[in-house]
């Protein structure tokens, strides 16, 4: 009896270490131990990797007193996500450590880096709705501190957009959870599996997690955030934190248990649009981080499409889950290694060598699905899924996949071109950025080949037809890119200039301050807002009227009448 209890406590402690270590280190960096924390920064991600590698699947720990009933556990999906996130955070920690050696503003960065990490690990292990929500919120808000780290006006604006969208997502998620818990009467994630029926909850979950992955109407934060965040933080955002959105969908709308054809169609449509939109806008950006942001919008769009296919019916869900996870792993590893490549380019005092450029080219084209890369495996898995689902999905995918692959190829070549023009940060060569890139490069290159669950898709991608199917969009993309460079590129017009005012500046966030700032009134948008908020002066007036003696007197009169009435009744 006692030994069982001890064992349960041991499990709880073991699992708590995953999120607890970064949190403790975040607390420590507010004390004079900051230097030590910087030195041992990579240790924060180690417990996550250890647990992911060693803990048996199905390990569950209950901590009843924690936040209205805490429940942690590791399942098969959780293990993959934890492993992936742990690895990317580990690399990002190494990269951050070398960055922080030249940085004065250490505390802020460290604190937010570690709390985001804590949130990210915590939500993977959470087996309760509220736990997931708690860590998701922690991660989302902490990431704001990473985005505005540079403190420039641009960074601040990126942060503002991010914060508005995060807040909208939080409220949507809160509402969705409260409805879910009310209709199922349970706080455990396992119990709500397949319980989502109402379209409203679907929509709210789409918004709540869609913000994180940059789903189409909610993508506004992604590009500026990736552009402005310090590169190691951006790598963590793009490689690890976005996955929290996908995991959220998997947890709350588990594929294979949920079927909702209309919702699936919506996901597919939104995802497909995002996949194309990301590529097109990306070509107009002139900063490497922004281009990677656009590519993330596009790739996350593809993942959304896979998720949507899985929602069509139960059968489809069972087939879609492994494909989805394969794609997530592929995207995370590739995208983070691109960011580390970008870091290499930005931190080196000299121009990249040809070897380095071609080393970065490999993950870049893997994203487009170049044969013999992980991308090809992921793409062939995607295709296989549509074959299983039959028409019309198969027919549509024969158009859609090559188009996005071509687009991604163009986008990635654009990225490589931009890398060469990246402004160098000083002359000092940052220690280790080469090694970090090499490690992530190797991981990108071999993971999917060695991964047991991908075995079928690996052999599938090796046939000659598949080889050709994967090759021609990439080759076509290369040609198109050359043509585009030659004929269409104009130096002046880029989206960075055009999008000076995003819609989010106008709506919501500055709403309160807007009402007071006179200069806003003169702009078109300001006039619109002041028109909308015409009721505000009226509020003020009504406030004054309520304070006037006449009104007080009248209220007294009314009061007396009431009393008279009561007296008569008595």
């Amino acid at each position: 009896m006692i030994s069982a209890e001890l064992q349960a406590m041991g499990h709880a402690l073991f699992l708590s270490l995953v999120a607890g270590t970064p949190l403790l280190m975040a607390a420590a960096c507010c004390t004079p131990m900051k230097k030590t924390v910087v030195h041992f920064l990579p240790l924060a991600a180690v417990p996550a990797l250890v647990v992911a590698m060693t803990a048996p699947v199905g390990l569950v720990a209950e901590i009843g007193w924690f936040f209205m009933g805490g429940r942690m556990g590791l399942d098969e999906i959780g293990r993959i996500f934890l492993c992936l996130s742990g690895f990317i955070w580990l690399l990002a920690s190494f990269s951050s450590r070398s960055m922080l050696k030249h940085n004065r503003n250490q505390t802020q960065y460290l604190f937010f880096f570690l709390t985001s990490m804590c949130g990210n690990f915590g939500l993977i292990l959470a087996r309760g709705l509220l736990g997931y929500y708690l860590f998701f919120a922690l991660m989302s808000f902490a990431a704001y501190g990473l985005i505005i780290q540079k403190g420039t006006e641009k960074a601040r604006k990126a942060g503002r957009i991010y914060l508005v969208l995060v807040m909208i997502g939080e409220v949507a998620l809160f509402t969705a959870l409260i409805i879910l818990v009310y209709s199922t009467g349970s706080l455990a994630i396992d119990d709500i599996a397949g319980a989502v029926h109402q379209p409203l909850v679907f929509a709210l979950l789409f918004i709540g997690f869609g913000v994180k992955i940059g789903a189409l109407p909610l993508h506004g934060w992604m590009v500026p955030a990736y552009q402005e965040a310090p590169i190691p933080a951006a790598a963590a955002l793009a490689g690890a934190m976005v996955n929290a959105g996908i995991l959220g969908w998997l947890r709350f709308l588990p594929l294979g248990l949920t079927s909702y054809p209309q919702g699936g169609l919506f996901f597919i449509a939104a995802g497909a649009l995002a996949a194309v939109y990301g590529v097109i806008t990306g070509l107009y950006h002139k900063q490497a981080g922004a281009v990677l942001g656009c590519s993330s919008i596009s790739q996350m769009g593809l993942i959304t499409v896979i998720f949507g296919l899985g929602l069509v019916d139960h059968e489809a869900g069972l087939h879609a889950t492994p494909v989805l996870i394969l794609y997530v792993v592929h995207h995370s590893l590739t995208k983070s290694s691109l960011f580390f490549g970008y870091d290499l380019a930005a931190s080196r005092g000299r121009i990249l060598s040809h070897l380095q450029v071609s080393a970065i080219l490999l993950p870049a084209l893997a994203l487009a699905g170049l044969p013999l890369t992980g991308g090809a495996i992921a793409k062939s898995a995607f295709k296989q899924l549509t074959v299983t689902l039959g028409e019309p999905w198969y027919g549509l995918s024969t158009f859609f996949l090559p188009i996005t692959a071509m687009g991604t190829t163009m986008l990635m070549l654009h990225f490589i071109c931009l890398l060469r023009d990246t402004e160098k940060r000083g002359n000092s060569e940052r220690a280790g950025s080469g090694i970090i890139f090499t490690v992530s490069f190797i991981a990108t290159a071999i993971t999917l080949w060695l991964w047991p669950a991908a075995g079928f898709f690996v052999s599938n991608s090796l046939s000659w037809t598949k080889f050709w199917q994967a090759l021609w969009p990439v080759a076509g993309g290369c040609l198109l890119f050359l043509a585009w460079r030659r004929f269409f590129i104009r130096e002046k017009q880029t989206l960075d200039d055009v999008k000076k005012q995003t819609i989010f500046d106008i709506v919501l966030f500055r709403f309160g301050n807007l009402l007071q700032e006179k200069e806003w009134q003169t702009t078109q948008q300001g006039r619109f807002i002041s028109y909308l908020s015409g009721f505000v002066p009226q509020l003020r007036r009504s406030e004054k009227i309520m304070g006037r003696w006449k009104v007080v007197g009248l209220s007294y009169l009314l009061l007396c009448l009431c009393m008279l009435f009561l007296l008569l009744r008595l």
Partner: protein
């Protein structure tokens, strides 16, 4: 008298006696006054804790004093009064410490601390009141004891604010008095322990009972700052920061909200109110207040004014919970918010006071980069603000969660909508303050920088907000534990048959 009765009396006396002594103390007896204050408040916490334990184990605490036949004063310790008394006495200790630090060297301190102690005595009286007459008595006394605190600065502005406060408070008091007398005439003496009068009266006196309910709510609604009876609260923020903290989190506004709870749960009883059909009215007023307060808060640049409007909005969560009185979850949400809002708002006012006292910052537009100068103060402020928005794991989330679940259980989707919109609005007026303070760049020197020492400000000003901010997080994290505000509120709700 048995020990329980002695306990109730000594709970009241533990702040009353120091208050009276302090009035007589000369101004310069600084140390003695502080010792008296602190000892009094620690003694009060200890006594209240004893009462809590007694209440938990079912001991009955009761004192009855008959004034005239049919009208008696009744002090009673039930779980609900224990909740409010504990909240008030704990926050009083922190506010006293804070006030000692805040008013260091300012004139009329004996006067101030005397009324301060009386004010808490009266608040505890409200908590312990066992029937409507006793409640009314302490409720009116509260107005009288807080008025001198509001006008403490003695400026013309504070005189005006004080005058307005009196007008509002006494108008409400008049309505309340009349309603109490009428109700007593119809249904006889109203003890809170009865949890509602017999429903037979509803058939015979339906219209009158509805009207009385409205008058009662107007009476307590003035102090709870329900729109449109809220006008005095934003003006009263001219008072010194500890007074604002007391008004918003411990005494006045809370007394109003507590009154709403008593009226709904104990005077009328949820079942009677359902039969009368007046609960939607309360829900409507609460929702309007929540949204109106938030929208008005958006427009304020003065930090304390913004906080004042935020109080108006947040206290109505309690009223919202009470308007769903037949749903246990909503009642839990409303009751627990009585504690949670107090903790969060007192943190925010302490921090606002620190900014004003240390750097002379009164306006939000002056707060750029202030967190670099006062990191601990702003950390506490951030915790309070995030709690107000309802970010987990703060206590604000816990309240919102239960209110939302209760709303759904009652089939009222609009409750969830109101909560969602209110969260967004709260974010709109709190997050810009946080980003400004933490990530903004200081543009000009602080208006009046006074204190540069070892810590960012005086230790007595710094410790109270840090403690309350810690509780804001801790009480949220351990909400499910055996000892937490939520656990106690569940214990209270178990006592009602909803």
């Amino acid at each position: 008298m048995n020990w329980g009765q002695w306990l109730l009396v000594s709970i009241l006396l533990s702040s009353f006696i120091p208050g009276i002594i302090i009035f007589g103390l000369p101004e310069e007896k600084h140390r003695l006054r502080t010792v008296l204050n602190i000892c009094g408040s620690i003694a009060k916490i200890a006594l209240v804790l004893i009462m809590d334990i007694g209440v938990y184990f079912g001991h009955i605490f009761e004192i009855r004093l008959s004034i005239i036949p049919g009208v008696e004063l009744l002090l009673n310790g039930d779980p609900l009064s224990a909740l409010f008394a504990t909240l008030s006495s704990v926050l009083w200790l922190l506010t006293t410490v804070y006030a000692v630090g805040y008013l260091e060297g300012s004139p009329n301190r004996s006067h101030f601390f005397g009324y301060f102690s009386l004010c808490v005595t009266v608040t505890i009286g409200i908590a312990l009141a066992g029937n409507l007459v006793t409640f009314l008595l302490f409720y009116e006394m509260l107005t009288l004891t807080t008025y001198p605190l509001v006008i403490h600065r003695g400026t013309e502005k504070s005189q005006r604010a004080g005058g307005n406060y009196l007008i509002y408070a006494f108008s409400g008091g008049a309505a309340f008095l009349f309603a109490v007398v009428s109700l007593q005439t119809i249904v006889g003496p109203v003890d809170f322990s009865a949890a509602g009068f017999p429903s037979s009266f509803i058939e015979s006196h339906g219209a009158a009972l509805i009207l009385i309910f409205i008058l009662l709510i107007i009476g307590v609604g003035v102090k709870a700052a329900l729109v449109p009876l809220h006008g005095w609260l934003p003006q009263a923020m001219v008072a010194p920061a500890p007074v604002s903290a007391l008004l918003h989190a411990v005494a006045v506004v809370k007394a109003g909200a507590f009154g709403i709870i008593r009226i709904v749960l104990d005077v009328y009883g949820p079942q009677n109110l359902l039969l009368l059909g007046v609960l939607p009215l309360l829900g409507g007023v609460a929702s309007i207040t929540i949204l109106y307060g938030s929208i008005r808060a958006l427009q304020q640049d003065d930090l304390k004014r913004r906080l004042a409007f935020s109080t108006i909005s947040q206290v109505s969560y309690i009223a919202l919970g009470m308007s769903l009185a037949d749903q246990p979850l909503a009642v839990i949400g409303g009751l627990v918010h009585l504690v949670h809002q107090g903790l969060m708002k007192i943190t925010l006012f302490f921090c606002a006071g620190n900014l004003a006292e240390t750097l002379g910052i009164h306006r939000i537009s002056e707060m750029n980069g202030v967190a670099r100068r006062m990191p601990f103060t702003m950390a506490a402020f951030s915790v309070g603000a995030l709690g107000m928005i309802g970010i987990p794991p703060t206590v604000g989330f816990v309240s919102k969660w239960y209110l939302g679940l209760g709303g759904l259980a009652a089939g009222n989707w609009w409750v969830v909508a109101v909560l969602a919109v209110s969260s967004l609005l709260n974010a709109c007026y709190f997050l810009p303050i946080l980003t400004r303070a933490w990530f903004g760049k200081q543009q000009e020197p602080w208006p009046e920088e006074q204190y540069i020492g070892r810590f960012e400000t005086r230790l007595m000003l710094l410790v109270p907000p840090l403690i309350t901010a810690f509780i804001v997080i801790a009480a949220g994290v351990v909400a499910n534990a055996q000892v937490s505000p939520l656990a106690w509120v569940r214990f209270i709700v178990r006592g009602y048959t909803l």
